[in-house]
Amino acid sequence: MTHGTFELDGREVPFSPGQTILQAALAASVYIPHLCYHPEFKPHGSCKVCTVKVNGRPMSSCTTPAQEGQQVESNTPEINEARRTLVQFLFVEGNHFCPSCEQSGRCTLQATGYALGMTNPQFNPLFPNRPVDASHPDILLDFNRCILCELCVRASGEVDGKSVFALSGRGITKHLIVNAESGKLGDTELSVGDKAVEVCPVGVILRKRKGFDEPIGRRRYDIAAIDEFAAAAPKGGTP
């Protein structure tokens, strides 16, 4: 049911009741870069990569309700520069060494960097010290690549009903934790088929013995750019 339309970069985009700007845009096959948004979860607006200007004001498109007649700017040099900087922030905040990452080629952060024309991290890297957790028989946790999108937190709580993941710390020391007194993933209820495992957009939650199973050249974002997936997606957008 269409509720009305708003204007996105000069194009009329229809929306249905309750949809946010990002949801309506993706449903209309228009790509707005985003990282912490996933169509199956309630948007929470933390990565800010989906920032757009609504009637001239910067807003997170994933959480801002679509309204009749809104003038939304998204694909402009100014906004894309801000988005690129935010992606660079995420790169320097963690330890992102794509060549050694099993998720390379199918990583949303990397693909978003490509889409925004990011050639380098620009800022001085922070090189945090984040040990990996290999205690689980089937799943490896590499915190170095965490972008704190909370998708695993949401998936494990809302879908899997296990609350395996949560966040602790704050500011630049904010970090992902697991639901065990030992602090070890192996002591949690996580299993390899969980939504929380599937939903990680980067290379943090990895299935063991599955790494590099797709040859370079045939991986998701080798085949097409992330914005092309959005344009081709029927409804709801890219996970």
């Binding site: 060494f97 990452c101 024309g117 050639t119 380098n120 890297p125």
Partner: protein, 185 residues
């Protein structure tokens, strides 16, 4: 893509690998027959291909690898002094890359493990010859130490990406890496 028209004067180009694996250099060589076009346009100064040990005044410097020891920093600074345009080439030069994955370890423990306590050590001692460059406590990307003018990501950057970078810089335009050439791995 065709090579830019020959100019009267050849561009001076220097290349080096710091804490890298020479993979980026190999990828540069992968431009194959375009090497002939390239050599019409450029003259190599310091480079593994010329085996010159120091860099003279250059138009363009291409540096692969990150900074893991004192010598890497000296070479980087020589390049920065001598090259009008300096490009960080490849994942290691841009992020520290694979060598930077030692950054969570204490460099003292690394040296102890490698030279003293490792399973294959004999005559155990940590080398201390002044000729050997000392390792930095952490591996850094090039832009942590000097100004970098362009970045060519990839592990390695593809031959086509190299070709685009070099031909664009020779022609005086900003290199543009489309989706097919922009890669971090």
């Amino acid at each position: 893509m065709t090579a830019p028209a020959k100019s009267a004067k050849k561009l001076k180009v220097a290349t080096a690998s710091l804490a890298g694996c020479f993979g980026c250099h190999m990828s540069l060589l992968d431009i194959d027959e375009r090497l002939f076009d390239l050599l019409e346009l450029v003259e190599l100064d310091r480079s593994p291909l010329t085996d010159l040990k120091h860099c003279g005044p250059c138009d363009l410097g291409l540096l692969e690898g990150g900074l893991c020891n004192a010598e890497n920093v000296h070479v980087l600074r020589e390049f920065r002094r001598q090259c009008k345009t300096l490009v960080a080439v490849g994942a290691c030069a841009i992020t520290g890359g694979l060598p930077a994955q030692r950054n969570s370890l204490d460099v003292r423990e690394c040296l102890q493990t490698v030279y003293l306590t490792g399973p294959s050590t004999t005559h155990a001692r940590i080398p201390n010859d002044p000729e050997l460059p000392l390792p930095l406590d952490r591996v850094h990307p090039l832009h942590d130490v000097v100004r970098i003018d362009y970045f060519l990501p990839g592990c390695p950057p593809s031959a086509d990406a190299f070709w685009e970078l070099i031909t664009a810089l020779i022609a005086g335009r900003t290199p543009a890496l489309g989706h097919d050439r922009l890669r971090y791995d």
